[in-house]
Amino acid sequence: MKRILWILLGIAFLAGAYGVYLYNKPHAKMEKARVDEQVEAQALYAAFETDEAAANTRFLGKVVAVTGQVSEVTPTDDGGLKVTLSAGDFGVSCELDPLTQHARTSFTAGETVTFKGNCTGYNLSVQLARCVELK
């Protein structure tokens, strides 16, 4: 009887510890995330502009590697950075991952870069969050 009680207590402790681990689980590291889709900025923008619902089905919530020419670099209020890649009227907006130590945070208009990040959808521009640069 005493043994069963100890086993139950052990199970309750492990369950509690797992719950605490899950609650405090850090965000997955973007630099190690597997790329689901690889695409040029122009093609990604065209996909959303042509058929947003179909593009959402293909890209939304996926890790997308996008290559394009830098058109604009905008600092965010909280010290972050958004890099817009040329495509259509509003481009593909890549917000650098605030949880990653980036090799560089300086980008020049006109240079060609590849970012991977979570595709969060179409809001004038196509938006990618938590981006890291791919070399």
Partner: protein, 183 residues
């Protein structure tokens, strides 16, 4: 005759500037759910605001998956269980300024703008009235607004085990600096 010419001249000069739209794709949208048990907040740096001063029209949109939480589990639950962001990827507000006489988009100053329109999220559309502060300085228009959203109003399911952890009314803050829209 001179009066008509003057009117035509003013129309030609003032027309293009007056119909100029302003926008941002970098509006900061934050929300805060606060209960005695838990505080949950998240930030989205990519809200879009489009303002048409001539029509007194404002349209805002945020992508739900762009909200970043401190805790990964909260972000996962927010997207998958509550907002169902794969099915409903965005939230919008479209409305009109109801006190246009009290707001000038061309003269420096700080104005209180009252907006009346429709808020849409989680597949539900509801009428919404929002008050915002508009600051015009040297041709730059900044907007700020605080308002509250009740998850129940938008059929956002909150499981009974966490009802005490999620506020009945969630505070939302929007801040943005608009630039002329030339596209």
């Amino acid at each position: 005759m001179n009066r008509y010419l003057l009117f035509l001249f003013a129309l030609l000069l003032g027309g293009p500037a007056f119909s100029q739209k302003f926008f941002t794709q970098d509006a900061k949208v934050k929300f805060l759910s606060e209960t005695p048990i838990e505080k949950i907040d998240a930030t989205n740096n990519s809200g879009t605001i489009v303002l048409d001063p001539a029509a007194g029209r404002v349209e805002c949109k945020v992508l739900i998956k762009n909200f970043l939480f401190e805790k990964a589990l909260m972000q996962e639950h927010f997207n998958e269980n509550y907002m169902e962001s794969t099915t409903y990827p965005n939230a919008t507000f479209k409305g009109n300024v109801t006190n246009p006489g009290e707001v000038s988009f061309t003269k420096d100053g700080t104005y209180t703008a009252k907006l009346s329109g429709t808020m849409s999220m989680h597949g539900v559309e509801k009428p919404a009235d929002i008050v915002g502060k508009i600051t015009v300085k040297n041709g730059v228009i900044s907007v700020h607004s605080d308002f509250a959203v009740a998850p129940a109003d938008y059929n956002i399911p909150i499981p009974s085990v966490v009802t005490d952890k999620i506020a009945k009314s969630v505070k939302v803050t929007v801040d943005g600096t608009l630039k002329p829209m030339n596209k």
